[in-house]
């Protein structure tokens, strides 16, 4: 392993291609940390934004006018504002209003840290789109199918969970894929509130070693790989849950 790292030092000396995160153990630690922070942040946001989408789409079909208005207001707010602005708003404006707690060093710090705020703001941002995506799927389920479920004695929640959602899910999966791919790429915005994800650590490394082109190429390759993995998994899933004869 050591020889592998030394080879990159040699590569730098010979060609000027400076991949510090291979031969400098400090940079390597930062890079690995950044990679896993990105993955963790992505997973958290993927999970919560999908949950928000499913629940939001169900509430959108509610009989109560105020529930529908509330969901609509949420969608308008999060879809019509830039995610970077939301992130700043959550971290600097809302974060200030929260009660403070004592940390391990005995200082008062805000209750929620920057990672939590990034996860919250990105989940709500992508969730707003997911609500609309699930609605498109729900509306594609024929009225007759829903009536059949009703005739079998399902109530509204049961018919949503057992009949409408499974069908709707298959219809909206391609659109959902798109949004989730976007979400993974949007995690780079967490850089603005100092969450140590990939872009943030790359920026730190290129400020120290002035190897901007190398770090840019590294970033692009890593994101192509990450998003490629997500798309591959989603396509497999899409195929696995295909209902023969349903036309999807």
């Amino acid at each position: 392993m050591e020889a592998f790292f030394v080879w990159f030092q040699w590569l730098y000396d010979e060609t000027g291609i400076n991949l510090t995160y291979f031969y400098d153990s400090f940079d390597r630690g930062r890079m690995i940390g950044g990679f896993f922070t990105t993955i963790w942040l992505s997973l958290v946001c993927l999970f919560f934004s999908t949950i928000i989408g499913i629940i939001g789409a169900w509430l959108q079909g509610s009989r109560l006018v105020w529930t529908r208005r509330f969901v609509q207001g949420y969608i308008q707010f999060f879809r019509n504002t830039p995610p970077l602005v939301q992130m700043y708003f959550f971290f600097f404006a809302l974060g200030n209003l929260l009660p403070r707690v004592k940390n391990e060093f005995g200082f008062m710090e805000p209750m929620l840290g920057n990672f939590t705020w990034a996860a919250i703001s990105l989940s709500f941002f992508a969730g707003a789109f997911n609500v609309e995506i699930f609605r498109s799927g729900i509306e594609a389920v024929p009225e007759s199918t829903r009536e059949a479920a009703e005739a079998l004695g399902y109530n509204r929640l049961q018919s949503y969970i057992y009949v409408v959602l499974p069908l709707a899910f298959r219809v909206c999966l391609p659109a959902l894929n798109n949004n989730l791919v976007n979400l993974v790429k949007t995690t780079t915005l967490a850089y603005a509130i100092a969450v140590p994800e990939l872009l943030y650590v790359s920026n730190q490394i290129w400020s120290d070693s002035v190897n901007v082109p190398e770090m840019m190429v590294t970033l692009l390759i890593l994101y192509v790989a990450l998003v490629g993995l997500l798309v591959w998994a989603m396509h497999r899933w899409e195929r696995a849950i295909r209902v023969p004869g349903y036309g999807i």
Partner: protein, 271 residues
Amino acid sequence: MLRKILGLTVAAGLAATLAAAPAQADSIDDIKARGTLIVGVKADYKPYGFRDPSGAIIGIEPELAQDVADKLGVKLEMVPVVSSNRMQFLEQGKIDLMIATMTDRPDRRKVVKIVDPNYYSSGTNVMSQKAAGLKKWEDLKGKPICGIQGAFYNKKTQEEFGAKIVAFKGTAEVYTALKQGSCVGFVYDDSALIAQLQDTAQWGDYEMGLPTIDDAPWGLAVRLGEGKFAKLMSDMIVGWHKSGRILELETKNGVANTPFAKAMHEKYKNM
């Protein structure tokens, strides 16, 4: 018609070039003939160069500029500069002399004539709550410390002293994060921190308790090839150190005397 317009454009262009061309010969003669010394100073770097409520530029560096003008027996005119244009202003002849918190670096010496000896210096320090009681750099271990994205000392603070750096884009974000407690301190240029700490209404509970590290000298500069002017400025700087003028200006502007200024005074006072 077209030819006429072209001719006019060329003539106007030529005239503009001529007007903007820097006075080559010897600037001391030019300055004396003109009756004014034009100095580039900072206008946003309290207390080294900033604006008073009336809009006039004051501070330590403007006072040094005034000393030079007095020495030459001419009036002083100050032009506010920022870090990204100060060397260009000097090269283009917009200013005769630059005293603008510039760190003395070899690559800069290739562009402008930095006068020896250095007149001032600044280093890296941490501003934190007094209650935090940070006294040595090792005290930072494991604590979240704010920084500016792209600053060269972030890595050192993290690697050597074990701090957890939380780096933001600009100082406004950092000061907000510091106020709300997202970090214990802020690692930055000590000269800028001194300036921030002067605002005691906002930052009364904060201090700069660590010893300054990575001290880097500041240089004032004239255009390349200005041998006579550079010599005069070199004598001026030695004079300032000798008489303790820098120390006096620090005290006057509410800055604790820096080790560099003290050392230079010791070095030159008996010469």
